[in-house]
Symmetry: C2
Subunit: 218 residues, 2 copies
């Protein structure tokens, strides 16, 4: 029984890592599509979001099945419930990557983000790619230093998000309202993406340190 449970739990962990890789790929391609006004890439990201949704559903079913069949308690239960939540968070991160791609597609053949705002969004895209990569590695390694790196990446995204407002609300802004709207929305998508990455990082810290705490009590 215990062996089956542990194999299933490993599978849940592997599914989360695979899902995180899908998100990493989506956000990286979405950022490239946005900055390079690459319509085909944008459409690929939009079309492949349903795969992330499917992974989310499969993972959830696996977790509910595990709860029903194995009735885990203590740390095991906490892991399964956390997996349910991380799966929902990753699904949402995939949606946000899709939203970025949708803005790129909506403005094609023009660049949605152009002019003075471009370097800020290039930096945001890079920061988002990095936190996505760190989340994948953190899920696999449970190396808590990565959790700290995710927090820092999110701080960076927040700072850049503030920069975008400073740019469009400053006296030198001469863009169109459509550009202001796009900057506002895409900035918000990236800012939320960072928040979700942090929520996953904190769940893993909680799981690892809670586990250590329990072992120390034995």
């Amino acid at each position: 029984m215990r062996e089956i449970f542990e194999a299933e739990l490993r599978q849940v962990g592997d599914d989360l890592i695979a899902m995180s890789r899908q998100v990493e790929s989506a956000v990286t391609r979405a950022g490239k599509a946005l900055l390079e006004a690459d319509l085909q890439l944008a459409q690929e990201v939009i079309a492949s979001d349903h795969q992330i949704d499917a992974s989310h559903r499969d993972l959830d079913e696996r977790c509910v099945h595990l709860l029903a069949q194995q009735a885990p308690v203590a740390t095991d239960l906490r892991i399964v419930v956390s997996a349910l939540r991380m799966s929902a968070t990753l699904e949402r991160m995939g949606d946000l990557a899709r939203h970025v791609a949708e803005v790129a597609r909506g403005r094609y053949p023009a660049h949605a983000i152009a002019g003075a705002a471009e370097p800020t969004f290039a930096a945001m895209a890079q920061a988002a790619n990095e936190v996505a990569r760190q989340v994948t590695t953190l899920l696999a390694s449970r190396d808590l230093e990565l959790a700290e790196a995710v927090e820092k990446g999110d701080d960076r995204l927040d700072d850049l998000h503030q920069e975008t407002f400073a740019a469009i609300l400053g006296p030198e802004w001469s863009g169109t309202t459509q550009e202001a709207v796009d900057i506002t929305l895409v900035g918000r998508y990236y800012e939320r993406f960072g928040d979700h990455a942090v929520s996953i990082a904190r769940r893993i810290v909680f799981l690892v340190t809670g586990d250590q705490f329990e072992k120390e009590q034995r």
Copy 2:
């Protein structure tokens, strides 16, 4: 054992209803604060969001405790897992109400939403209040007609959201960039609020019809 379980499950249901009432109050007050530039009301909404967060944590703990102590299966398990998800969704709806209040506070003593956009946002606020109220009643009554009403309310929010873009991107728009940013953000908050209400409505439909399906199979 079964009696204890059913009492605890009822408590989870009551907690969700109470949490939904908190959200309903927050979004209603946030909309009023936004439209009337009421600083005190905005601050009240912002300050009370931590109560919704606390309800969320308590409800989650109760659900995890229930899973650990009672190891529910089938419909019972589905109810507890759904409660975990609905609690997270309600918490997020509370955040969105707070975000609306934060915009109102940030522009005070000016109105964040003024001029031609005002009627659209008055309609959005009203639609959001209604779906919030319908979610509370749906959680209590499980009357599936209300689930349909929530879907319609969300459609209305989506239409109004599109209207906000039409207004700021139209040739008659003469507002400032700050106004365009606020309209973009608050429109997005209300649109997401509606999405979350729909996600709760669908979960309840799934629970009720799944339950009926199981009863019919017996």
